[in-house]
C-alpha cells in the first residue's frame, strides 16, 4: 500500500511536468491547428537556457532545495527565450506555410524539421554529455503515512498549480486570452471580427514556449540535463493532449496526471524499463476507444 502511495506521489510529480508541457502543446494545437513535434525539443532548449544563466549566477542552494534563488531569473529568461524562439520559428517557417494554405500535416512535418534542428543546435552548444543545475543531494521530507517527497518535487507540483491558475486567468479574464479562445474556435470568424489573428498566433507561441520552458526547468531540477531529454517527453505530452481532448488545457493537465501516475504505478507490475511504453499504450487505446478525449469535445 505504501509502495503504491509512494509511486502515486512520484506519478503526480512526473504528471505535473507532462501536464505543464501538454497545456502549451494543446493550446498551440487549438490555435495553430497542427501538431507541433518540436515541442519536446523546445523543452530541452528551456532547460539549457536556464542552465546557461544559472551557472553564471550565484548557485548557492536555498533552504531545503537543490537550487538557489538564482533559478528564478534563470527560469524567467528561459521562458522568454523559448517563447521568442518559438514565435520566430513561426514567423520564418509556419507563417509562410499558412499563407500558402498548407495542410496541417505539412505544418506538422515542418515542425519535425524544426525539432531536429533545435536538438542539433543544443547538442552543438552544450554537447552530448549530461550536466546538472546543482550537485549535492536533495534530502527528502517525510510526509504522513511514511511517504517521502523531495523539496524539489514539492516545488514542481506547486509550480504546476500556479501556472494552471495563471493560464486560466489569462484565457478567461483577459482580452488576449478571450481572443485566443475565439481564434481557436474559428480563425476565419476571428479575422472577420477584427481580431489580428497573426498577433494572437505570436502570443500563443510565446505562452506555449514559456510553459514548456518551465516544464524543462522543472524536469532539470530533479534530474540531469541532456540534449534529448525533452524529446523523450514528446510522446507522453501528446498522450496527455489526446487524453484531455485536443485544444483543452485543463484536459491536457488532467491527461498529464493520468500519464504520469499510470506510468509510475505500472512499475508495480511491469519492469521499470518498460514504463515509458505506458503513455504509448494509453494513447493507442484512447485513439481507438475515445478519440475525442476523456472530456469530450470542447464547447
Amino acid at each position: 500500500m505504501t509502495e503504491f502511495a509512494q509511486l502515486l506521489v512520484v506519478g503526480v510529480v512526473v504528471g505535473s511536468i507532462v501536464g505543464l508541457g501538454a497545456m502549451g502543446l494543446t493550446l498551440a494545437f487549438g490555435i495553430l491547428k497542427f501538431a507541433n513535434f518540436a515541442h519536446g525539443d523546445m523543452m530541452t532548449l528551456g532547460m539549457f537556457l536556464a542552465y546557461a544563466v544559472y551557472t553564471r549566477l550565484d548557485g548557492t542552494a536555498m533552504g531545503p532545495f537543490s537550487v538557489g534563488l538564482a533559478m528564478v531569473p534563470a527560469m524567467l529568461i528561459a521562458m522568454a527565450g523559448v517563447g521568442l524562439v518559438a514565435a520566430s520559428v513561426d514567423q520564418t517557417v509556419y507563417r509562410r506555410l499558412r499563407r500558402r494554405g498548407s495542410a496541417s500535416i505539412t505544418m506538422a512535418i515542418a515542425s519535425l524539421g524544426v525539432a531536429i534542428m533545435v536538438r542539433a543546435v543544443i547538442q552543438l552548444i552544450w554537447g552530448p554529455t549530461p550536466v546538472r543545475y546543482a550537485t549535492g543531494i536533495n534530502v527528502a521530507w517525510t510526509l504522513p503515512f511514511g511517504l517521502r517527497m523531495r523539496p524539489d518535487q514539492v516545488l514542481i507540483v506547486i509550480a504546476m498549480f500556479a501556472l494552471a491558475v495563471g493560464l486560466y486567468l489569462l484565457l478567461f479574464k483577459t482580452r488576449l486570452g478571450k481572443a485566443m479562445r475565439a481564434t481557436s474556435d474559428n480563425p476565419a470568424l476571428a479575422d472577420i471580427s477584427g481580431i489580428d489573428t497573426e498577433r494572437i498566433r505570436a502570443a500563443t507561441w510565446m505562452i506555449a514556449g514559456a510553459l514548456i520552458a518551465v516544464a524543462g526547468v522543472m524536469f532539470g531540477v530533479q534530474s540531469q540535463l541532456k540534449f534529448d531529454a525533452g524529446f523523450e517527453f514528446l510522446l507522453p505530452m501528446f498522450a496527455a493532449v489526446i487524453l484531455g481532448g485536443v485544444g483543452n488545457p485543463w484536459g491536457a493537465l488532467a491527461g498529464g496526471m493520468v500519464v504520469g501516475i499510470s506510468q509510475e504505478v505500472s512499475t508495480l507490475w511491469i519492469p521499470t524499463g518498460y514504463k515509458t511504453a505506458v503513455p504509448f499504450v494509453l494513447l493507442t487505446v484512447m485513439l481507438i476507444v475515445r478519440p475525442r478525449g476523456l472530456f469530450g469535445p470542447k464547447g
Binding site: 481572443a179 475565439a182 476565419a188 470568424l189 472577420i192 471580427s193 477584427g194
Partner: protein, 252 residues
C-alpha cells in the same frame, strides 16, 4: 452623392476557379439592399470578396470614397464595415458577452456600454449574457452574430442569409431587427433565399445568376416582376423555388 459602397466590376473565386465575373452593385447610406439568385450563383463569394475575406482578382470596391479592394477582413472592420457569414458566425465556446467583446477587440473604451446598448434590443440574449453561444438556438445565434458585427458601429453591415433555416416567426423577428438596424443609420447589404420577405423590407434588389449581374430593381419592382416572381418568389402553393431556378447546383 457618391454611394456608401460602390462595387465596380468585381471578379473573385477560389484558387484558379473564378466564381464571380465582373459584378457591379452599389449601396447608398441607410439603404437595405438584397441580393437574390439561385444556389451556387456566387452570392456568398461576392460578399466575401467585398469584405476582403477573399481577395478580388479584378474590379474596385469603394467604401466611403476609398478603394478598399484587397484589404484584409481585419482592415475592413476598421474601415467601417461589419460582416456576418452564412454559417459558423458565432464563437461557440465563448459566452454571449465574450462574443460581443470579440466584435470590439480593436477598441478599449466604451465596450461595455456598447454591449448593453445592443443587448437592450435583444432581450433574449440580455437575459443570459454568460451562456455559451454553442447552446443558443439558430435565431439567437443569428441575433448574436449581428450584434457582434455591430459592436464597432459600422456604417455598412453585410449579412449572408440571415434567416436561413429559421422558423417563420424567427424570420420575421430577424427581418424586423434588420429594419431597426437600418433605422439606426446602418446600411445593410444582404443575401437572402427568403426573397419575398427580404424584398419587402428592401429599398433595392439585385439578381445574381452564374456569377453575373442579371437584374437591378427597387424592392417593390422586383416583387411585382413576373420573371422574378416565377423564379425566386415561387407561387405560394408550390414552394418549389430552388428547383426551377436556372443554374441551380445545390452547393450545400
Amino acid at each position: 452623392m457618391t454611394p456608401l459602397l460602390d462595387v465596380q466590376g468585381v471578379s473573385a473565386g477560389y484558387g484558379d476557379v473564378r466564381i464571380v465575373h465582373g459584378v457591379s452593385i452599389h449601396v447608398e447610406a441607410r439603404e437595405i439592399v438584397t441580393i437574390i439568385g439561385p444556389n451556387g450563383a456566387g452570392k456568398s463569394t461576392l460578399l466575401k470578396a467585398v469584405f476582403g475575406a477573399i481577395r478580388p482578382t479584378e474590379g474596385r470596391v469603394i467604401l466611403e470614397g476609398r478603394d478598399v479592394a484587397g484589404l484584409s477582413a481585419f482592415q475592413m472592420v476598421q474601415a467601417g464595415a461589419g460582416f456576418v457569414p452564412q454559417t459558423e458566425n458565432v464563437f461557440p465556446s465563448l459566452t454571449i458577452r465574450e462574443n460581443l467583446e470579440m466584435g470590439a477587440y480593436r477598441r478599449q473604451q466604451g465596450v461595455n456600454e456598447r454591449i448593453d446598448e445592443l443587448l437592450d434590443r435583444f432581450p433574449e440574449l440580455a437575459r443570459r449574457p454568460n451562456e455559451t453561444a454553442g447552446r443558443l438556438s439558430g435565431g439567437q445565434r443569428q441575433a448574436l452574430a449581428m450584434c457582434r458585427a455591430l459592436m464597432l458601429e459600422p456604417r455598412l453591415l453585410l449579412l449572408d442569409e440571415p434567416t436561413a433555416a429559421l422558423s417563420p416567426i424567427m424570420r420575421e423577428e430577424i427581418f424586423a431587427q434588420i429594419v431597426a438596424i437600418r433605422d439606426s443609420g446602418v446600411a445593410v447589404l444582404m443575401v437572402e433565399q427568403n426573397a419575398r420577405e427580404a424584398l419587402e423590407i428592401s429599398d433595392r434588389g439585385y439578381v445574381l445568376v452564374n456569377g453575373q449581374n442579371a437584374l437591378e430593381q427597387s424592392g417593390a419592382e422586383m416583387l411585382a416582376n413576373p420573371e422574378v416572381g416565377r423564379l425566386f418568389l415561387g407561387r405560394v402553393e408550390s414552394g418549389a423555388i430552388e428547383a426551377d431556378a436556372p443554374g441551380a447546383e445545390g452547393s450545400r
